[in-house]
């Protein structure tokens, strides 16, 4: 039976940061775009995020950073992903960061960054184009 595979995306915040407006908005819009969103909310550790990503077999992990913690937690998240062989899972980030940090985050292992002021369509398009086929 021909069926378009559903894209599963995990949306999470990490550490103490409590700005969740963006994370909730993208969750709602991803749902409207036909994706299945697993929303973890606040106060997650890198370990907890990756555990959820493994158990839910997600295609994409989306992290929301709005308190300057992006360079601190990204290496930890990427390390956990490597430990758990999640190389075929897309890692994207949103939030607030200086533009200089974007190449640094990508160097660390983030696939693409969508900061504050991003429109929804480019994000969805990016995910569709880059989500990996795990066959």
């Amino acid at each position: 039976m021909d069926k378009e595979r559903k894209i599963k995306i995990l949306i999470t915040k990490v550490g103490l940061d409590g700005h969740d407006r963006g994370a909730k908005v993208v969750s709602s819009l991803f749902k409207e775009a036909g994706m299945e969103v697993i929303y973890l909310g606040m106060y997650q550790t890198p370990e907890a995020i990756i555990k959820a990503a493994v158990d839910e077999d997600v295609d994409v992990i989306g992290v929301s950073y709005l308190s300057g913690e992006h360079l601190i937690f990204t290496p930890k998240i990427v390390e956990e992903m490597k430990k758990n062989n999640l190389d075929d899972v897309l890692l994207i980030a949103g939030g607030t960061f200086p533009v200089e940090d974007i190449p640094v985050m990508k160097e660390m292992g983030i696939d693409e960054v969508f900061g504050a002021g991003s429109l929804t369509e480019p994000i969805i398009q990016y995910i569709h184009e880059h989500v990996r086929e795990k066959r």
Partner: protein, 336 residues
């Protein structure tokens, strides 16, 4: 398409505790992929041992919070737990917001707990069919207890509850949903009825309604009488949480009843009976439609019905007889 050998490898990994592999297989089941038949065949012998608890109730009744507590208690008893949380997919976009996991994240560092969110999607084979398989896979992971949570809103989800051995219905005072549950037939399936948020106004009226509806039903000698348990699953202070131990005790008591009264045999029988029926229906539909696909016959049939040249019953009879005859003759070596 994965070869049998790779599937075998996958199953072995799952049986030895590889969570990622199990998660992957569940995705294959959700995607209704072709490989999942072979995988389910191979995994089946290793399933059927877990205690399956179904938790159903309307949105906002507090199911996830109760499950959070239950997981904790079961873990304290040394049991491993698997959880399947079913959430509705949007009928418009096909997407879903799976937000129950957020309430269960306190178990994120516990390897003895496996949690999987499932969207109700629009499964071609029906939600219950997919959920049966998902639960089988979690059993094969070695979980002692599997908890299934659904809304219990549609027929699809009521079918899911039939998979459970112990069925818990969660209601809250003042929402009138004990009446809704009655209408949906859920009251008849429930082994335990939980009145959550029992500290709210209207709790007493709710208890009276529940007890009244139970007293109307007649129970045979030795049959399980549904228990009503009061809980307060969410409170700003830990000391205000109530009824969890009673709920755990109720569940264990029902499980004990199943095993000592041999009602478990009937439950197991019905589970397989349902599985068989669902798989059969699904596969049969696939075969028929596969045969019709691309031939333009389906359109022709519908057109002829619309033109008054036939009716759906005759059409189905015709299709079935041609399929079955073809199949039977082939087996007998005939070509006709």
């Amino acid at each position: 398409m994965k070869s049998e050998k790779t599937i075998n490898g996958m199953i072995l990994k799952i049986l030895s505790g590889d969570r990622r592999m199990a998660a992957r297989l569940i995705t294959l089941v959700e995607d209704e992929a072709e490989e999942n038949h072979e995988a389910m065949k191979q995994i089946y012998p290793y399933t059927g041992k877990a205690a399956i608890i179904g938790i159903t109730g309307s949105a906002g009744s507090g199911k996830s919070c109760l499950i959070d507590h239950l997981i904790r208690k079961f873990r304290q008893q040394g049991k491993t737990v698997g959880v399947v949380v079913v959430d509705p997919s949007s009928p418009f976009s096909g997407g879903a917001f799976l937000g129950d996991r957020i309430r269960l994240q306190s178990h994120s560092s516990d390897d003895g707990v496996y949690i999987r969110s499932m969207a109700s999607r629009g499964y071609l084979g029906g939600l219950a069919r997919a959920t049966h398989d998902v639960i089988r896979i979690i059993e094969a992971m070695g979980r002692d207890i599997v908890i299934v949570e659904t809304l219990g809103a549609g027929q699809d989800e009521i079918d899911v509850i039939h998979i459970a051995q112990t069925c818990v219905l969660v209601t809250t005072p003042g929402m009138g949903d004990e009446i809704q549950a009655l209408k949906a037939g859920l009251m008849e399936i429930a082994d335990i009825i939980v009145l959550n948020k029992a500290d709210l106004d209207g709790a007493n009226t709710c208890i009276k309604n529940l007890q009244a509806s139970l007293s109307v039903t007649s129970f045979k000698e030795g049959e399980w009488v549904p228990q009503v348990i009061l809980t307060v699953a969410v409170a700003s202070k830990p000391e205000d949480i109530q009824g969890i131990d009673e709920l755990v005790a109720g569940i264990l008591k029902h499980q004990e009843y199943l095993h000592t009264s041999s009602a478990i045999e009937r439950v197991r029988f019905e589970r397989v009976e349902q599985e068989l029926g669902l798989i059969f229906k699904d596969e049969l539909q696939k075969i028929i439609f596969k045969g019709l696909k691309g031939t333009g016959k389906k359109k022709k049939y519908i057109k002829s019905i619309l033109e008054g040249k036939g009716d759906p019953y005759s059409v189905v009879e015709e299709i079935l007889s041609s399929c079955l005859i073809t199949g039977g003759e082939k087996r007998n070596g005939k070509t006709g």
